[in-house]
Symmetry: C2
Subunit: 181 residues, 2 copies
DNA sequence: GAAGGCATGTAATGAGTTACATGATTAT
DNA sequence: ATAATCATGTAACTCATTACATGCCTTC
């Protein structure tokens, strides 16, 4: 364990959490993240190569290198890592949720564009949120029988969120079309 | 205008958008952002010092330095900057929305914590989203009479989102309490 | 056996965060 | 006139994004 304890961030806990299920390579992490929390919180694949290396340096994870071949690196969580995750889960959660939505930014500044732009934006966003909601429904059906109960719950929150935003844009399109028929 | 055109990002457009209303110092930007889009997409104040400087380098914004005193720097948008904003508003929007919510991450990994942690998490998150929703209601009342129409709309989306997530956690708390009475 | 995609990684750059510093203004 | 807070900025560090590079496996 290194003495200078770095402050862990969200990426750290995602990696620790994933590794709590089983040892994994960076590629495994990438796959798992891509199908689950990557839906709402995206990580570039290089982050999933960098972060485990940092956790090794921190003494929370250990690395075993495949003999010969491609010398792939597999990461396993150490007791200190499990402890870090537990203590994070037990700590208060006061950070503000961030919703990074380019569509919202464009709506905010829509006065500097045309009416056409805005209508197009609303249609794009409506479609995108609807598709994502549908994706969640499928995903839920696929995993509901065997996945971790809380993972399924997470998906349900995602679904509610997408439905809500989808509805917003639908109402908004209607409002716009009512004005300029 | 510089020849190597950097790819602008969300921060860039926020600054360009704000400056489209009127010239401003970094501090002005910080205030405006803090009261509006900062609610869902936060920017550290240093970003609002760095980004205008980059936009100057890009030839999209110009800087005038106060004579004497604190030599404060005021930024104004140039025609090329307005054009960049317009063209962004006219372009398609296909980026996925990111919802960076620590609560969601903790829910996802809740199996590695205790039931108590989870209940506490649900209560924290419920409270936080409720308060934010209430804040939006007030904010809307304050600005609805004079603010830009689309800015108000943005706030409405924020409000719907908060209500939706608030409800999720409320239902979830009920579910948990139903199990371990 | 060549092509295409999956798996694995690194380097370079750019951006974001945190901490530090200090000048101005207001309130007591 | 001192404290507190607002306003203004920079430096150091960490993190994220993008591009590059290439090995391995499947399929045709």
């Amino acid at each position: 364990m290194s003495d200078r304890t770095r402050k862990l961030n969200a990426t750290s806990y995602v990696v620790l959490g994933m590794l709590s299920y089983a040892p994994a390579t960076s590629y495994d992490l990438k796959q798992f993240v891509g199908n689950t929390i990557g839906n709402f919180w995206a990580f570039a694949h290089s982050q999933l190569y960098d972060e485990p290396a940092r956790l090794v340096r921190d003494g929370l994870v250990e690395e075993t290198v495949e003999e010969g071949g491609r010398r792939r690196r597999t990461y396993s969580i150490l007791p200190a890592g499990r402890e870090a995750l537990r203590s994070w889960l037990a700590s208060g959660t006061h950070e503000q949720t961030e919703v990074r939505d380019t569509g919202l930014l464009k709506l905010f500044f829509a006065s500097f564009g045309t009416d056409q732009d805005l209508l197009q934006l609303a249609r794009d966003r409506h479609k995108s949120h609807r598709e994502r909601a549908e994706g969640y429904v499928e995903q839920r059906a696929e995993i509901v029988d065997y996945a971790d109960r809380w993972q399924v719950k997470t998906l349900e929150l995602g679904l509610r969120y997408e439905r809500c935003v989808e509805q917003f844009w639908a109402d908004f399109i209607e409002e716009l079309e009512g004005e300029a028929p």
